[in-house]
Symmetry: C2
Subunit: 387 residues, 2 copies
């Protein structure tokens, strides 16, 4: 088993939307292709990965550091002991050679994209979907046959904002979603409350609607907002304050009857450990959203789950950011609570497989080997064009 | 005042040395040049910056995000209100447009290099050294005319390790250093203690010698080491455990009579705030080593100093990592405790100006405008060749 080439290309996932902090008009991702010397069913075994979303392409780090280290390594140092498959854990150590500790950002995204492609290969070599491979390795063969997904959106619209928000929410329910999320923090408190009430008219109960601040508030504003939304009994209140402000989270936690959700901008096990140590979150009610791709890949995500477990957090409290199929595979295979979805945004990388069905907020997975990007024409078309 | 071009190039600072975690055989930096439409003394005003050391070049982030944002901005949005000089604070906001919160690493280094070049320009436009400009802006005109510097080294040598270490330490004293630092954590406890004793034979008292673990130990090992070095009354015990393991620092702090030093791998004000909140450090005895270049530049470093002050930490407890002239200028201008120096390593970017003199561990600064790289032939030669 030999990795014969690793390629990366930049792809635009520009979108006209914005959250409370940034717009996505120039958002890019890196897509990567890892080629091997193996053949299955007459085709070479290759793995595909990409950098989730929100953190831009990582061409420089991939080309200058991560890819050369893998390509310069001895094949035996990247493979399982029997040489029959790639070993993502061994590859991870090679990718991180001569990297100093700390500074978790960007590098974590570059490594995460390659890690995704490596797991794609591992599962393809065993001719099974990644979620089944993960169930076998980490859950005694158990998998979730369907995964709870929620529609993340609820953007601000320049005009006619509330009725467009309602149209958007109605669209999600029509697709089969049962739970949605909307942006807040980008308007006045009064306007956001009116938007929340407008959304609730469509989705119904508060437990079907989460709100996302994207870290825009300071602590006093976040506490005022927590008090204002308390009557609606919403599903969660996401990233109310600075993503690394652990003490600030603890202050908001103490003032909020709505569950908190956070973690999509924590990119390492170390940062996640600090969150559960210092942010005062409740493992019975709150939610953790670390994105396995942005945070050094599945290899590191497994370490994060272990640290969470040691601190009383079940994997069932985890619902990754990113809206990608990789997150879906991990949710089904590792028994996470669910996965984010971005219907119609970051297209086409957030698509479900054509053979998947979405009903009452749960989506099925397909039997395509690996992650299954080849089975999604809109994604595979881009990958084929890129490489 | 208009920025007319921003260029970046990759330069090798490869070195045969290694610390307890990485080797530097493939270490690179980005050097940047910011060009303006201004002329002083018949020459165009340009600023130079680079990415300190330890975190590699940042070509991708510079070229894909940071530089285009500045070059696409309206000149008025990058300049002071009167249009007479560049405004590094305004430039910082432009560089960070559409960047999500958190993920402080790499991006922070890219921004830091440009920030360095911008401050070089700001001071040159006022025809004074950066440290005097900083003293005027932030210390009512006061500056430190000399800066306390220590020689960071004390590497592991493949053979004849102790006598080579002694030669190295002797060399530092001969250069005029009064304080030195050596690597530990890359050998057995016994061997490291023997190395410490060998170094002390040359430098004399323990207060002239610091030890640096580069985050290699786990907490129990770090505590054992703290106990083993206690009798030597060393100057400080640096990065004993994971750089983001705030609780681990608190545990080591409680067990160590030697002052702790840390922070060179914290790259944002947010991370520094977490350190002083959660790591149990003592603002009367411990040391903070954040590198202004690795952590989003002087604009962010000023925020960090403010947050430190609010938590009882004087700037006099800060001694930046990096060994660069930029750190020296900040130390003199802002009244830091001192600055790191790497004699003969990361050459030539750690050089003092030819006109500077080093005596009893304090170095003088020169009157060259800006940071003064033009006055260091070995550095300026590289910059001229690169651009």
């Amino acid at each position: 088993m030999k990795i014969t080439a690793i390629k990366d290309e930049v792809v635009s996932i520009a979108s006209p939307m914005r959250n409370a902090v940034i717009d996505f008009s120039s958002m890019t991702i890196s897509v990567v292709k890892v080629e091997t010397d193996q053949v299955r069913d007459g085709s070479p075994v290759v793995g595909y990965g990409f950098t989730s979303n929100g953190r831009y392409a990582q061409s420089g780090i991939l080309r200058e550091r991560i890819i050369p280290r893998l390509m310069n390594a001895d094949s035996a140092d990247l493979a399982t002991a029997d040489g029959e498959n790639v070993d993502p854990f061994a590859c991870w150590d090679v990718m991180m050679t001569n990297e100093k500790p700390g500074g978790h950002g960007e590098r974590s995204v570059a490594v995460g994209a390659i890690d995704m492609a490596l797991w794609d290969i591992v599962a393809k070599m065993e001719d099974k979907p990644l979620y089944r491979l993960l169930g076998e390795r980490y859950r005694d063969g158990e998998v979730d046959e369907t995964v709870r997904v929620y529609a993340a959106g609820g953007y601000y619209y320049p005009e006619d904002s509330q009725s467009k928000l309602q149209d958007e929410m109605r669209g999600y329910l029509d697709m089969g979603f049962a739970e949605t999320k909307m942006k807040v923090g980008g308007a006045s408190l009064e306007e956001d409350i009116a938007r929340i009430e407008a959304a609730l008219e469509i989705v119904g109960e508060g437990r079907r609607l989460a709100v996302d601040v994207n870290a825009r508030f300071d602590v006093p504003t976040a506490i005022r907002f927590a008090e204002a939304i308390a009557p609606y009994e919403l599903r969660w209140y996401e990233e109310p304050v600075g993503v690394l402000d652990f003490q600030g989270h603890a202050d908001v936690r103490a003032a909020s009857t709505t569950p908190l959700a956070t973690g999509e901008n924590l990119f390492s096990t170390e940062d996640s450990l600090n969150l559960v140590r210092h942010a005062g979150l409740n493992p019975e009610t709150d939610f953790l959203q670390m994105d396995p791709v942005l945070s050094y890949g599945l290899v590191e995500y497994l370490r994060t789950l272990e640290v969470l477990r040691e601190h009383g957090w079940s994997a069932r409290r985890c619902v990754p950011h990113g809206g990608h199929q990789f997150g879906l595979q991990l949710a089904a295979g590792l028994g996470l609570m669910g996965n984010e979805a971005y219907p119609g945004v970051f297209e086409p990388f957030g698509r479900f497989a054509p053979g998947a069905s979405l009903d009452d907020g749960r989506v099925t997975l397909t039997d395509d080997p690996g992650i299954g990007y080849e089975a999604v024409p809109e994604i595979y078309g881009i990958l084929v064009t890129a490489f």
